[in-house]
């Protein structure tokens, strides 16, 4: 939940735009794991590793297009999503999307870690969701983004994002029981 002027990643990006190369290293350190986990929504784990690098290379190309008063993560994740979609179009036949529970993404830190068993169940259930609902839930629950921020990443209105999360929440509650909780909707 980024608010204007409080986004440390946006401040780092502003430093990079101003010529501070070390700021890029810091951005990478703080975001690469999350970006990789996000990319695994569309690809195999090995492909996601390659796409992380491609995402940051494109971020370098796109560096002028970031305005520091805007939140950083929707900007970065929309580039990552685009990289994944490009790659999917190019390599669709090569990738098998049969991802086992062991290969499923590790959740990054922003939310409280559920126990391992619950996590595996949650990720297995996420895999069964339609892609648009899965990424909305991922960005909401794992990345902690608001529906406005998610809408920016996925190119949908905040209302459409809320509907996706709501529908996904109904399914997840059905599959996981009350363990999934009730706070499935982004603000």
């Amino acid at each position: 939940m980024t608010t204007e002027g409080e986004d440390p990643l946006a401040a780092l990006m502003a430093r990079y735009q101003a010529g501070d190369a070390a700021a890029f290293d810091e951005i990478y350190r703080l975001t690469a794991d999350s970006v990789e986990a996000f990319l695994r929504q569309w690809t195999s784990p090995s492909a996601a590793k390659d796409l992380v690098q491609e995402t940051y290379l494109r971020m370098l190309q796109a560096r002028r297009s970031f305005r520091p008063e805007l939140p950083f993560r929707p900007w970065l994740y929309s580039i990552a999503r685009h990289v994944a979609q490009d790659a999917r179009r190019t390599y669709a036949r090569r990738w098998s999307k049969e991802v086992g529970v062991d290969e499923l993404p590790e959740p990054p830190s922003p939310v409280a870690e559920p126990d391992v068993l619950m996590r595996d169940r949650l990720f297995a259930a996420l895999e069964k969701l339609p892609p648009d609902q899965r990424e909305a839930v991922w960005l909401s629950r794992v990345e902690g983004m608001t529906s406005v921020e998610i809408g920016k990443v996925v190119g949908a209105s905040p209302g459409a994002v809320k509907v996706r999360i709501h529908r996904a929440g109904i399914k997840l509650r059905e599959w996981l029981g009350s363990d999934f909780g009730t706070e499935s909707e982004a603000s």
Binding site: A14, Y16, Q17, A18, G19, D20, A21, F24, D25, Y28, R29, A32, D33, E36, V52, Q53, Y56, L57, R58, L60, Q61, A62, R63, R64, S65, F66, R67, P68, L70, P74, W75, L76, Y77, S78, I79, H82, D86, G151, K152, V153, G155, A156, S157, A160
Partner: protein, 212 residues
């Protein structure tokens, strides 16, 4: 915490020359719109107002112009927003945007044709004039778009070209005395078609360059 790969670190060092962030989308769109309007005004100044302006009445004369300018401003704003990842329009908005320029041209051509008047047919001077009037705005738009990072470059190219083209089309409508559908659609509409093709090709080229 991931270690940054050496190739990426080197690329980051190579790209670390200071850059100025792009202006806000509304500011960039306003620049292109102002330039397009200035070129259109010059065209109308040189050619003079259409002789049947009075008989058309205020509504038929000026409403289509206002509609074109409003649509042009919207399209240019969308094109500029598209240049900032995470700020681009949603897919439904992109679809509506692509329909709005042809709809405006067709509907207002039909409205004018019902008024009756002078039939000019395929007189292609308007095509040349329209393209010349749109060229400066298209050029500046291309420069601004190249400095940004459109995730859907073909849409950005189309929207920018159509936005600039609608302003030029407004100028054609202000000076050209033709009221027939053939001229309005094939020649005036042709300006938009040519610009749309150029915009889409430029966007496609940009897309392929970025993917290499």
């Amino acid at each position: 915490m991931s270690e940054i790969p050496e190739t990426l670190r080197a690329a980051a060092r190579a790209s670390s020359t200071p850059v100025r962030p792009v202006w806000p989308p509304a500011g960039r769109a306003a620049v292109v719109l102002a330039l397009a309007a200035a070129a259109a005004a010059v065209l109308v100044f040189v050619r003079g107002f259409r002789p049947d302006a009075e008989s058309l009445g205020t509504g038929l004369m000026w409403f289509p112009i206002a509609l074109r300018l409003a649509a042009a401003a919207w399209l240019l704003l969308l094109a500029m927003r598209e240049g900032m990842p995470g700020e681009g329009p949603t897919a439904p908005v992109r679809r509506v945007a692509m329909l709005c320029a042809p709809l405006i041209v067709v509907l207002t051509a039909e409205w004018l044709a019902q008024h009756g008047g002078r039939s000019v047919g395929l007189h292609f001077l308007c095509l040349r004039n329209g393209l010349l009037a749109a060229a400066p705005a298209v050029g500046v738009f291309a420069w601004l778009a190249a400095r940004a990072y459109p995730l859907h470059p073909i849409f950005a190219g189309l929207a920018g070209a159509l936005g600039s083209g609608l302003v030029a089309d407004a100028a054609l409508r202000l000076y050209c005395p033709a009221t027939d559908r053939l001229h309005a659609l094939a020649v005036h509409g042709g300006v938009l078609v040519v610009l749309a093709i150029v915009g889409a090709l430029a966007g496609g080229f940009r897309s392929s360059v970025l993917r290499r």
